[in-house]
Symmetry: C2
Subunit: 339 residues, 2 copies
């Protein structure tokens, strides 16, 4: 293979962590900076970033509570779909599309390790970041493995119009559950009922007493709570939970910007009395089972039993704003930046 | 079999729930009252109460948060060792000792359902309420099944000088864990180290900053927390918990008398970040595996690898006081009333 020096002095733009956010992140916590790429060495590929996955969990890596954390002065990193712009690797050809955890950079050099080919003929490229990616797999494994849903049970999903929540709710329906979604706008209420088939929707901003609203929507109580938000909403759902209830702690977006730890009621007595299981979910634990999950999700997609929403924002430099927008629910479904 | 009318007009004394306790229970919540037993019918046995198990979980059944609850005007009910005083059943002989959930009554009639024979030649009768009963089985199944201890891990047990805690800590040692116990007196510190083999002990009343004391005792963090107390102690342990930590919610005695729900920090963000599992334990779920558990416990006992403490209070009418005494830690090991 011919040695290519395509990247000699090539310029890219990179977004680095400038300071650890305190409270709601703002644009000043990020630095958009030009970088110069070194020449491509044997075995390496030059990647052109196409789509960037923008996710709430990145907040924890910015403040350092989620390990491994981002370092100040280093690039932010998330799941990205990139095009192989040049290749010195026998494994990749110019024009291939690949997916991996990559830096927030318009171009970058990779040694090929961990890059997965994605096929734009089989699904939209963005689907590999969402329903066929970590998002869909998280919804699938968290719900089935931690939630253990049984037909006839009541499942409540918060962040129900979000990337994971919208998929989790649909999978709950496929498993025979009655599914109630909690969202923050009337538009999202309509969306989750009409597009995603939720049985009922609650707008936590307008429903008044959230505990009572959940009780009304769940006359037989809550068997499974798929939590994407944490905070008071989670507390109000858990107050409605049945004996042997399961809480899937998949995300806690309402708490991610907390400066002081939020006060809550002590969960432990209820865990004791009701024999609850509250479990945190880590998608990496399910890596050996990814093929099973992807096959399930792909089958449901092709059968028309599963659908998804995306909020696609154009422009690499919009990444910080897209990320900050997650915390006010600017997204319907998966938040993606198209470069 | 000859029909016996031993109980014709026989007098017994019974302790009934007079009012649902608010806060710490007091003697006025109980009514000690004479009862007259009807004649013994075919198939029935007359039971003479010998030893009564006095347990924190009864508090929840008194206030009604734990189902099935006790009804006002009905007898309190817990695990009891009784002697068969008269039998109209082919399955039981006068002089047999049996164990079951029975009423707090000096004498009572039972139809034989659920009564289990216990053999005073094989172990002390009180052991069937403790280490070989629900107490020991709870420690064994909660620790092994929810806690999943691995050799080298750090286990923290609260209520460590109590009935379940003292057994759980010893089983943790048998499984190769480093075991730290939290107790409320210096005498109990000595006890759990010298008698039960805990590696370290913390007196939460005198140690100062509990979180820091746990951190000092657990330089590699806490992998498993066996919680018998709930409340702020539980919170401080959980603040020291490692990624993939497990919290066994076996009891929350510090919260059982709460009138208002205690404020705590919101656990859910930490569950998300650290992929924790927090699970409530119900011994009844393990009924099919009781023989396995009893065999394990009996083997360890006979090999001298497991020991136990009991606090035995004499006098049927001392039952309310013995129960109330649990909440100020009056017991070392299992609290039992001998009639």
């Amino acid at each position: 293979m011919e040695y290519k020096s395509t990247t000699n002095n090539m310029q890219a733009t990179t977004i680095k962590l400038k300071s650890r956010p305190v409270g709601l992140p703002n644009a000043n916590d990020f630095e958009i900076t030009p970088t110069t790429l070194p020449p491509l060495r044997p075995g390496e590929v030059l990647l052109e970033t196409k789509y960037v996955s923008v996710d709430p969990y990145l907040r924890g890596k910015m403040s350092g509570t989620k390990i491994p954390r981002f370092e100040i002065g280093s690039p932010i990193n998330s799941k990205i779909i990139a095009k192989v712009a040049a290749s010195n690797s026998p494994d990749f050809t110019e024009g291939d599309y690949v997916s991996h955890y990559l830096d927030w950079s318009t171009y970058q050099i990779a040694n090929g390790a961990g890059l997965e080919n994605v096929d734009p003929a089989q699904a939209a490229l963005t689907a590999y970041l969402g329903v066929l990616g970590v998002t869909g797999l998280s919804a699938y494994f968290a719900l089935t493995d931690i939630g253990q849903p049984k037909a006839g049970e009541t499942l409540v999903v918060s962040g129900a119009a979000g990337a994971v929540g919208s998929i989790a709710g649909q999978i709950g329906k496929l498993m025979g559950c009655r599914v109630i979604g909690i969202v923050g706008t009337d538009e999202k209420m309509d969306l989750i009922k009409s597009k995603f088939g939720f049985d009922e929707a609650i707008n936590y901003r307008t429903c008044g007493d959230i505990k009572a609203a959940i009780a009304r929507a769940c006359p037989e109580g809550v068997d499974i709570y798929f939590d994407n938000v944490g905070g008071p909403i989670a507390d109000r759902v858990i107050e409605n939970i049945n004996t042997y209830g399961r809480v899937i702690a998949c995300g806690a977006i309402s708490n991610y910007n907390d400066v002081d730890r939020e006060k809550s009621f002590s969960l432990l007595p209820m865990v004791v009395y009701k024999f609850l299981r509250i479990q945190g979910f880590l998608i990496a634990d399910y890596r050996p089972r990814f093929p099973e999950g992807i096959q399930k999700l792909q089958t449901w997609l092709s059968e028309g039993k599963l659908t998804y929403s995306e909020t696609i924002i154009k422009g690499f430099d919009k990444l910080p704003d897209a990320f900050i927008g997650l915390f006010s629910g600017q997204n319907e479904g998966k938040m993606i930046v198209e470069v």
